[in-house]
Subunit: 377 residues, 2 copies
């Protein structure tokens, strides 16, 4: 059965960081593998900005393989013969979990910009409701890259007793000025589109597809390294021998970007893009500790594996190392590996043997420590 | 007198790389200092994508100081007590030189997308007409940063006998895939704006201000280093103590970017932005030599000073060094200096003492070699 949807926070509303109380929160999720008898083998996978819970199975709209189908599955890094894997669409998303495109129960109209601004902390509290609903007290591991890594850090921060191991990948403990800037460009592209209708496009049967496509194109550049772009495209022309002296997509890299933009709008909601990027911008784990990240993780019982990629300029090693320094200062159990890769930020989604090997090895060590059997019986 | 405008290519049209012949080309320009008797002290300054010939004097629209007023002037790096300095608005620009916003003499309507697509080579040939108009056979130097540097390289390539010294700064001999990608995002932002009207907005009394602002915002991020953005803004909030849980410019970096976008549209034409970025994308000096840049500069008599900045990720040192390698292979007289700066690409516009010192020293050496007097008499 490809995916589930559950309504939570029915009696007790979910209290958001903004102070707003959200009730009847729907969460779309999927699971793979089998939960063992003592419920100690659950791994929560957290998805990135434009991801969803189609981790393994083909995406229902694009038909493409699940976004981490190379990592999660039988015999894979996150071995579904061994672990019970859960992934839910984040709060504010557009693939089944409550978000701005849903109906506001109070008005019976789509939320639009009436939807409350959410945070990474809110996303994680919604995930916690799901985990409790599944009867799981402690997750064996929480793993994710990019914004998924922010959720991993937030899990370890908010619920250290409910997480045995945390694997934040290619991420940061607080969003940098440059990354806020890139997100703001994306938001302005969307909000500049007249079809955005001040966020009310669903009611008016319009869609800010042009603005959303531009936002995606700008963001997509940041996901690749310059080396990867050069290797993939260089200055190669698209189905032509010479430039056309016009504004068509003469270069392959232009054609590629346009394709990224135009296919994205079929599967993503523009307001969700605004809300989720906002949550990323607001993310700053040290903010409640006078900016001292180390204090956020003081004496944490969670085991950490932090991984970064050498050519990732969106969440560079430097920012991942800040997490490690804070964890070290907080006397945490932490491993850190910078993976050599020229593929940029997207490397966490790609077949990077060293990345997978380190990831698998860390899980193996934790499983032994946790006393998990090689295979669930 | 702040600026001149001259009509050239009246009898013999300017033949563009596209094959189109452009006649009655207007060129807006300004000069500073005095041309000496043997016309040997002329320096042509080439401006970047959004620059113009307001190098020294305040900009007529923004009122801001000229874009290189810290470099060009009496006693400055390019000493107007000594040199005769010329800068013209580029072909395709929007500050007085013929471009897409002008009236097409054949139709008596604004050119719009009927304007021919131009190249850096075309820009330089238009500048050559101006230099000839001014009665100058050989320029003592041609200098410019970013797209200005491309023009410098093109000058040395097309007219090696007319250039004594060339100073390309923070530039590249061919536009990279990543830079084409960023330009394409800007173009798509403009062309997605319904007020762009397929390029015909001038006739319809509309302006694609929203799209152009988004294009500027995206580009502006690339002009600064992450370090500079962090130092300048970090995660500081804009006139508030806490985030607002909304989509206002909570962060200073957002406010700054929005300001960059909204002020840009007052001084720049959207179609010019399309045409000029296209010229940059097409730039590839080695293309007529099987990609062998060295062959483009074989046995060149021009003296070169190539300068890059350590934190410039738009035109990184690596790309500037490619120029140097090609010049070396072509047995050229070339100096190369990588300036230590954390200010990113914009460093070439800023007060960077080492940059200015190297620049001035090189000019001094060339002036001695050229037999220029300390002051024109």
């Amino acid at each position: 059965m490809p995916g589930h949807r559950v309504c939570l926070a029915k009696e007790t509303p979910l209290r958001l960081d903004s102070g707003v109380k959200l009730h009847d929160v729907h969460i779309a999720y999927d699971t793979w593998g089998t939960l063992n008898a003592d419920k100690s083998n659950a791994i929560l996978v957290c998805h990135a900005l434009t991801g969803d819970h189609y981790v393994v199975d083909p995406h229902p709209i694009t038909g493409k393989p699940g976004w981490w189908s190379n990592v999660v599955g039988p015999g894979r890094v996150i071995d579904t013969d061994r672990y019970f894997v859960i992934c839910s669409n984040i709060l504010g998303g557009c693939m089944g979990t409550t978000g701005p495109q849903d109906i506001n129960p109070d008005t019976q109209k789509p939320w639009g910009l009436e939807f409350p601004v959410i945070t990474i902390g809110d996303m994680v509290r919604a995930q916690k409701l799901l985990i409790e609903h599944l009867g799981i007290e402690t997750l064996f591991a929480v793993a994710g890259g990019s914004m998924g890594g922010m959720q991993v850090l937030e899990w370890a921060y908010q619920f250290p007793e409910s997480v045995f191991a945390a694997i934040p990948i290619a991420t940061a403990a607080r969003h940098s000025a440059q990354n806020i800037a890139f997100n703001e460009v994306g938001r302005q592209a969307i909000m500049s589109d007249p079809d955005w209708c001040e966020g009310d496009y669903h009611s008016q049967d319009k869609h800010p597809h042009r603005g959303l496509a531009v936002a995606r194109m700008a963001a997509h550049i940041t996901y690749l390294s310059e080396t990867a772009l050069t290797r993939k495209f260089g200055r190669s022309l698209q189905d032509r021998d010479a430039v056309t002296y016009g504004f068509d997509a003469d270069f392959q890299v232009e054609s590629y970007l346009r394709h990224q933009g135009s296919t994205f709008v079929d599967r993503f909601d523009a307001n969700s893009y605004l809300y989720i990027t906002r949550a990323m911008d607001y993310f700053d784990l040290g903010q409640h500790h006078d900016g001292q990240l180390a204090r956020a993780f003081k004496d944490t019982p969670v085991r950490f594996l932090v991984m970064s990629f050498t050519s990732d300029w969106l969440y560079p090693t430097r920012e991942n190392r800040e997490i490690v320094h804070a964890l070290n200062a907080g006397a945490a159990n932490v491993s850190f590996v910078e993976i050599e890769s020229d593929k940029g930020h997207d490397a966490f989604l790609l077949d990077e043997p060293e990345f997978h090997k380190v990831f698998e090895g860390f899980l193996e060590g934790c499983a032994e420590h946790r006393g998990l059997q090689r295979k669930p019986t």
